[in-house]
Structure formats: C-alpha cells, structure tokens
C-alpha cells in the first residue's frame, strides 16, 4: 500500500522546493563589500566575518601563533580585561565566537536589535583593540598546551597529525594549526601582535549579515567595525604538493578500535567536472545510509558505525578524502572493502537510477539548509570564500541536474585512483599489509 502511494507521490513531486533567499550585494560607504539578507521577523542579526588565510599565515617558526591570537581576542580589549570584556558581552546578551582553520579566521556574532550598537562596539574592540595582556597570554597558552597534551594520546588527533604530515609535508597544512608544545611555549607577545596584523585585514575579509538590519545600517556598522584594521595582508601560501603514494601507513597505538583516514587527489570547485565529481562522491560515500561505502561496509558487513568520503576543497589543496573506524581485528577487511568499492565504481560506473536518486536528494536537500538567520549567514559567507556568484543559490540545482550518466562515469574512470588511495591507520590493526608505496 505504502509503496504504491510512494511511486505516485514521486511522480508529482519531481520538482523539489526552490531555495528562495533574497541576497543583496552591498558596498559600504567605506568600500567594504557584504552580502545582506534583510529579514525583520526576529529582532536580532547574525553577522559572519571570514578572514582568508587563517592559520596558514603563521610566520616561519611561529606555528600556533594565529591560533593563540584568535583565542586571545575575547580575553581583553580596550580598557577591559578578560573578565571585563565577558561581563560587558553577557550584559548585552551578545554572542560572539572566534575560530581559526587552515584557511580562515572566522568571527560569528549574534546581537539583539535593542542593543546592537553597543554590542558591535564591543565586537569592534575585540577585533581592532585586543590587549594581548601578558597574564591573559600565559593563561590561554596553558589552555592550548593542555589541549596539545590531550591530543598526544587521542587516536583521532594522532591520525590527523600523521595524515597531514604524510600528505602535505612542509606546507603549512602539514602540521597542526595549534602548533607543538615547543612552538607554543616559545611564542612571545610580539609574535601574537604580528599574527594579528597578518591575519585580520580588510583586504581579505568576507562579510554576510542576515536578520533585522537595513542596508544603510549595515554599511555604517561595518565601516565602524572594521575601519581600524590594516588594509594589506601577508601573502597566502602556495599550492600544496600532495604526497599520495598509495598504500597504508600504520601509527601503532594501544586502543581497541583502529581509526583510519584515506585520500587521493580531489577535484577543484572551478573544474568543469566538479559537479559530476560531487554527485559521484555522494553515491560513493557521501552522507546517508544509501552510499555504496555505507551499504557495503556497514549495512551488509557490520564492520563499522560509519564510513564516509568527501571532496575536501581547501584553498591550497584538493583531496578526495574519507574516514572509517573498525575494531583492530576487522579494520583490514573494512579497508579491503573500501578499496574494492573505489575500484568498482571507477570500472563499472554508476547506474542511471543511482544518478537520479542522488540528484533528487541533493537538489531537494539544498533548500533545507536555508533555515534560520544563523545558517543563512554562514552559507552566504562560505559562498563568497568560494568565489561563487549571488545567483549560485538559484542555479546550483540546475548544475546538479545537468550532470549526465556519461559524464559522471567518465569522471569516475578518469579521476578515481584506487592505487593512489593512501591510508593512515592509528591503532593495533591486525592483518594489514603496511606499506606506503
């Protein structure tokens, strides 16, 4: 009964909901560009700032400086010490978060309309006038060191460290952005000030705002917020040389379940084959329970709780990556199934039905992401970072739908490379043929 209803339903429901988000590209009087979605239904605004460069801008020998600097932004500014700043922020019920990744410093704020000016003045103080006071520096340094100590015996952290070192070598991506115990211990206040000047600049900022604010209000606010930051930024790192020789590297560590990361070369977002690769990845190991990896490794064999693959599109490197975790005595089988599936989809391609199902999912799921001011602001700033145009939201589903069976299977043949698929395994795996080619 249900199945009959379903097939009828699918016929009438072929057109997914459209994402309708009215984004305006605005330029402030001071010359900053921002994407704005005005929505006055809830009296607050979500603001997202991304400064391209992030931890990869760490100066030579100063690994961890950007991370420590970002950790200090909310630890005292202008005439306020760390607690004074926190008290002022909490009294306004403003929410600020400061984060750093390989490619960006991310600042997110949610502020109430009733005290927006005061709240953003406070945010401005943290970005333009941080104190980097010696006592705060020492305190936050100890927090970072505590995290680094924990990471020394955490299987997933060990995996990231080994993977990044193997694949990216001397590139900034090849080491952990938190730095090492030695590098963090050696950082001085001057290093932190220098990292601030390198990482937070007007030239590299991307901005979005969503919620209860007008274009005019936003312009004034942004000029005030970012006006005091330096214009020019430090040079970005060069494209990474990827070392993906194929094979398996094992990092021995006493723990019951082995964790593994694997990768081969990826596909750039600007590549004409990007959407085909994106849909192909969805079928291979993206997201849901229906992917081939999930079906073969989890559903049929019960070898893992989760196995995934994804296209990692970093500013200076593109990888086709994945991860899995299996008990030490079963991880060899899991890896063998993953390699087989990688080869099978390359050799045999996908079916018309798989392609259609993937398109229906990807196009239907897209509009669901635009739920709420916070998520929309985050998507809008991410689009700018990726160099996507305003009409991407309207056209994106058409680009997914344009992928043909012929194209996707050609991309599978040309791009998937099971021999180069390189695994890093942390644990005590049994029966693994360890060898990096």
């Amino acid at each position: 009964m249900i199945r009959i209803l379903l097939s009828l339903f699918l016929l009438v429901a072929a057109l997914p909901a459209r994402a309708e988000v009215d984004i305006k590209d605005v330029t402030t009087p001071g010359g900053l560009s921002a994407w704005l979605v005005e929505d006055h239904s809830i009296p607050f605004v979500a603001l997202e700032l991304r400064f391209r460069g992030g931890a990869s801008l760490d100066a030579e020998g100063k690994r961890g400086a950007t991370n420590l600097m970002v950790g200090l932004l909310e630890e005292g500014a202008r005439d306020m010490d760390a607690q004074g700043f926190a008290r002022a922020r909490d009294a306004l019920a403003a929410k600020f978060s400061y984060d750093v990744s390989d490619d960006a410093v991310a600042v997110s704020a949610q502020v109430l309309t009733e005290n927006r000016e005061a709240a953003l003045d406070l945010l401005r103080a943290s970005l333009s006038e941080p104190r980097f006071a010696p006592e705060a520096l020492e305190r936050v340094r100890q927090q970072v060191l505590s995290g680094l100590r924990s990471a020394q015996t955490d299987p997933r952290d060990l995996m990231s460290k080994a993977f990044d070192g193997l694949v990216f070598g001397d590139h900034p991506y090849g080491s952990q952005l938190e730095g090492t115990v030695e590098s963090v211990e050696a950082l001085s206040r001057e290093d932190i000030i220098a990292a601030h000047e390198r990482a937070l600049t007007r030239e590299r900022v991307y901005i979005s705002a969503v919620g209860d604010i007008t274009e005019e209000e936003l312009g004034t606010l942004l000029d005030d917020l970012l006006g005091d930051l330096p214009q020019e930024a430090a040079p970005l790192p060069a494209e990474a040389d990827l070392n993906l020789p194929g094979g398996i590297e094992v990092v021995p560590f006493q723990t019951p379940q082995s964790v593994a990361a694997f990768a081969q070369r990826g596909v750039d977002r600007d590549d004409p084959d990007f959407f085909a690769a994106f849909v192909l990845n969805h079928i291979l190991g993206g997201g849901g329970f229906e992917s081939r990896l999930m079906t073969e490794v989890r559903e049929k064999r019960g070898l893992t709780y989760g196995v995934y693959s994804y296209l990692a599109d970093k500013d200076a490197a593109q990888l086709w990556m994945g991860s899995v975790a299996s008990a030490n005595d079963r991880v060899a089988e899991a890896i063998s199934v993953i390699r087989d599936q990688w080869a099978r989809i390359r050799d045999e391609g996908v079916t018309a039905e798989e392609l259609q199902d993937a398109k229906t999912y990807l196009t239907g799921a897209f509009p669901l992401r635009f739920e709420g001011n916070g998520p929309i602001a985050s998507i809008a700033v991410g689009m700018q970072m990726n160099g996507l145009p305003l009409d991407y939201i309207a056209n994106r589903n058409d680009m997914v739908n344009a992928v043909t069976l012929e194209q996707i299977n050609r991309v599978a043949r040309e791009r998937l490379d099971p021999e180069a698929l390189t695994f890093v395994v942390v644990g005590q795996p049994e029966g693994l043929d360890e060898q990096v080619n």
């Binding site: 249900i2 909490d90 100890q142 505590s146 559903e299």
Partner: protein, 447 residues
C-alpha cells in the same frame, strides 16, 4: 548517525548552553489524539521546511536488567523494514525526497526524526506511523546490526578514556536507578542482545499512547491535526502499556570516590557530581535555582569558580559546572576541573572545595545574576530562529515528565528566582556526603 545522545559531561569544555534554559511561548500549539498520542506543533513559516519527530517515552532506563542497550539497538533496527517496506527503504525514500532522517536514544526517551520539504510531511508521517507497529525483523538483521552497535560502542566509548570514565562515574553515582547503566549498554550484554529482547521492548513501548509527535516548521496546527489523525489516529492504543515507574535511587549517605588510570590519558582531571532533584511538573522552582547556580558557578569566564580558580589562583586551566535539569528521575549537578601544569589532582580538588565553601558563604553576585537573567530573556529571541531546536526541547520535556505548560512557564520561573532560593538549593545539593568525586589520570610510572 543514528545517534546516541550521550548524557551530560560530554566534554569538559562544553558548558551547557543557556539555550536549554529558555522556551518561547508563541508559535506553539498542542493537542491529543483520541488514542492518547500527544501532538505539539511549532510554527515557523520563514522557509518551506518541516522537522517531523516522534518521541517514545521509553529509553535505556526503561530496559529490564540484563539487556542493557536494547532500547538503542531497537532504534537501529527500526530502519530495517516493515511488512510493506524493505530494509533501508525508509531512509532511501526520505533521501529520494531530498530529506534527511535519523534517530537518537537516551535514558528516558527514543526519538526518530526527518527534516524535509514541508509538502512531504504526509509521506514521512505515513512511514513513521507504519514502523510504529509493523516492524519486521529476521535473524540476519540482528546479527549485522549488533556488530554495528558494537563498533559504535568502540568508537564512542572504548576508544576514549574520558567516555569510559563517565561510564564508571554513572555507575558509581547510581546505586539502584538504571541511570547507572550506559545508554549504549555494557559490552557483554550488547553481545548477547537478540531478536526476542528487541521485540519485547518494541511491543511493550511502541504505541501511540506512549508517543509524542512534534512537528516544527512551515505547517499549521490544522494541517498537522488532519495528517496525524489519518496516519497515527488509526493505530489503536496499547491497553497493556505499563505504568512508568523505575527503581528509584535511595538517599545517598556516604561520599563515593573513584580513581581511574588509563595509558591514553595525557591531561588528567577531576570531576565531582552530586545527586540532585530534576524539573518536576508544576514544581520547577528548585531546578530553576540549580540551573542558575550552575551558570553562576561555572558558566563562563566571569563565573565564580573561573574567577577564583582560573584567574586568581591559577589552579585550573578550565573549570565548569553544569546541571541537567530535564530528567524523569533524580539527576546530577556536575563540576569538572582541569588542573594547571604542576598542580596535582589533590590540590585541584582541595581548591575546588575551598571555592565552593567560599561561594556558600558569600552567595551570588547580584550583577552576575542580572547578566544571566538578561541572557535568559535574550534566548527567547534567539530561539525563535531555530524551530528544530525548539522541537527537540519540547520532545525531551514531554518524555521526561513535563507538560507544554511547564515548558512555557520555565523562562518566567528562571526570571523570578531569587538569590535566596539559589542559596537554599546550593546548600541542599552541594553536600559531599551525596557526591561522587572522580580522578582520571595516567598510570603510575614504576621504576
């Protein structure tokens, strides 16, 4: 995927967000179907999206002894097929309609949800109603999925000394209540879970009169009522649904301590938990006081413990306090402290106790309390941006003994709570004789 909601204590750094504290009163409609299924509708018409959730008043604490993990195991098995659906067809149908689906299990509830375009609500409701009563399982489903949950346990627990420590702490905290048994189950009992145990749990608890439907997003109450009557309304109530009463915790009279050593620990820490009352329907005052107490003690940079232990004495790298207010039975009030380099766990614990005594003498800083209340007020605004978050909050509350009215009264109760009430609650709960103190550390090095 198919998440297990790990209760509390998840990470030392994670301070319970204030959003847990506030509920909005607009947008929400509630009614009950003739068969006893309760329905809550949360309207948000900004995007053509809907979150559809079914919550069962049955979680791991409702399991019988010997089959720990069966509530969570059954949650996995609900994706395996029914009389009319193939295994995996549920999720693949949701995906083919551009939606995503998942489920989670906790001590007091099991919940299933889909996020999908609003015009597909009829479809997912039909499928969810189907698997409420028509589940069909065979032995091979059981065997593979049991391997999956054991790998899930490996991933979440066995590979993490912090998670193993939390398990031990739970077992130490609860002498008699099933909250002392992990949601995912003890490993040796998980390995023996069978079809019979899963079906027994299913037949006892999966029924409309033990379920709550929560729909949030671009829908109207009228629309939801029509669809709910069509899909869920036709399922008869289970007349044999047992009354929900679990073995309760006796008064704790003796302080308990535990020390766990694991070679994978490179940053030791100390935790303290106190048995504490939870929010009860019509009687949420003391829980509100404890919620504010947790914020005052450990809710951020300016909290009492942070000022004293992180800033003044530099004993701690991090210190936090949190209180799990929503729970069917006795809950806990928790503290954790990561000591600074060179500070022993004994020194850290002593400093923590000294600070608690000092707090009990001085009481809350009125300005700090005012700031927290301002954040509670603001949260009612921010929360309107997250209908799915509100859906989770109502679902949790209604499976844990509260009513819609209780949920809506909560922000006001928090707002009206006085310093005196907070101190009263603090004096009652922060009593070492009803506490568990835990040390997690690396093995001793022997020469």
């Amino acid at each position: 995927m198919r998440n297990l909601t790990v209760w509390l204590f998840a990470a030392l750094a994670a301070i319970l967000p204030l959003s847990v504290m506030a509920e909005t009163t607009e947008q929400v409609t509630s009614f009950t179907l003739d068969n006893g299924m309760q329905v809550v509708v949360i309207e948000d018409h900004r995007a053509p999206v809907v979150t559809h959730m079914v919550w069962y008043r049955a979680g791991s604490a409702d399991e019988r002894p010997g089959v720990s993990g069966v509530a969570h195991f059954l949650e996995h098995l609900l994706f395996k097929g029914t009389k009319t659906m193939e295994p995996g067809e549920f999720s693949s149908t949701v995906a083919r309609n551009g939606g995503s689906d998942n489920a989670f299990t906790s001590y007091d509830y099991t919940a299933y949800f889909q996020r999908i375009a609003a015009d597909r609500l009829d479809l997912v409701m039909g499928m969810e109603a189907d698997r409420m009563v028509n589940l069909q399982l065979d032995e091979s489903d059981i065997a593979t999925e049991r391997d999956v949950i054991i790998e899930e346990r490996n991933q979440r627990v066995e590979n993490s000394p912090g998670a193993l420590f939390r398990e031990q702490k739970g077992a130490t905290q609860y002498l008699n209540h099933r909250y002392g048994v992990p949601i995912i189950g003890w490993r040796q009992e998980m390995e023996a879970l069978d079809l019979e145990a899963a079906l027994e749990f299913y037949e006892m608890y999966y029924a409309p009169n033990n379920a709550i439907l929560v729909v949030a997003g671009d829908v109207t109450p009228e629309k939801v009522r029509g669809l709910a009557e069509k899909h869920y309304g036709v399922i008869p109530a289970n007349p044999d649904l047992p009354e929900r009463s679990r073995p309760q915790e006796p008064p704790q009279l003796a302080e308990r301590r535990m020390t766990m050593r694991d070679a994978r620990v490179s940053q030791p820490y100390v935790t303290r938990s106190y048995l504490a009352p939870e929010r009860d329907s019509g009687a949420q005052q003391e829980a509100a006081a404890l919620m504010l107490l947790a914020e005052l003690l450990g809710g951020g940079q300016t909290s009492f413990l942070n000022e004293r232990l992180q800033f003044d004495k530099q004993i701690a790298v991090q210190v936090g306090a949190w209180y799990s207010a929503t729970s069917l039975d006795d809950t806990t009030f928790d503290l954790a402290l990561v000591p600074a380099a060179g500070v022993s766990l004994q020194q850290a614990e002593d400093a923590l106790d000294e600070a608690l005594i000092a707090f009990l003498e001085t009481g809350p800083d009125p300005d700090a309390l005012e700031r927290i209340k301002m954040q509670v007020r603001a949260e009612e605004i921010y929360d309107r941006d997250d209908a799915a978050g509100q859906a989770r909050r109502y679902g949790r509350a209604l499976t844990q003994g509260l009513t819609v009215k209780d949920v809506q009264a909560w922000p006001g109760i928090l707002q009206d709570t006085t310093s005196e009430q907070i101190m009263q609650a603090a004096r009652r709960v922060l009593d070492r004789s009803q506490s568990v103190t835990g040390w997690l550390m690396a093995p001793e090095v022997t020469q």
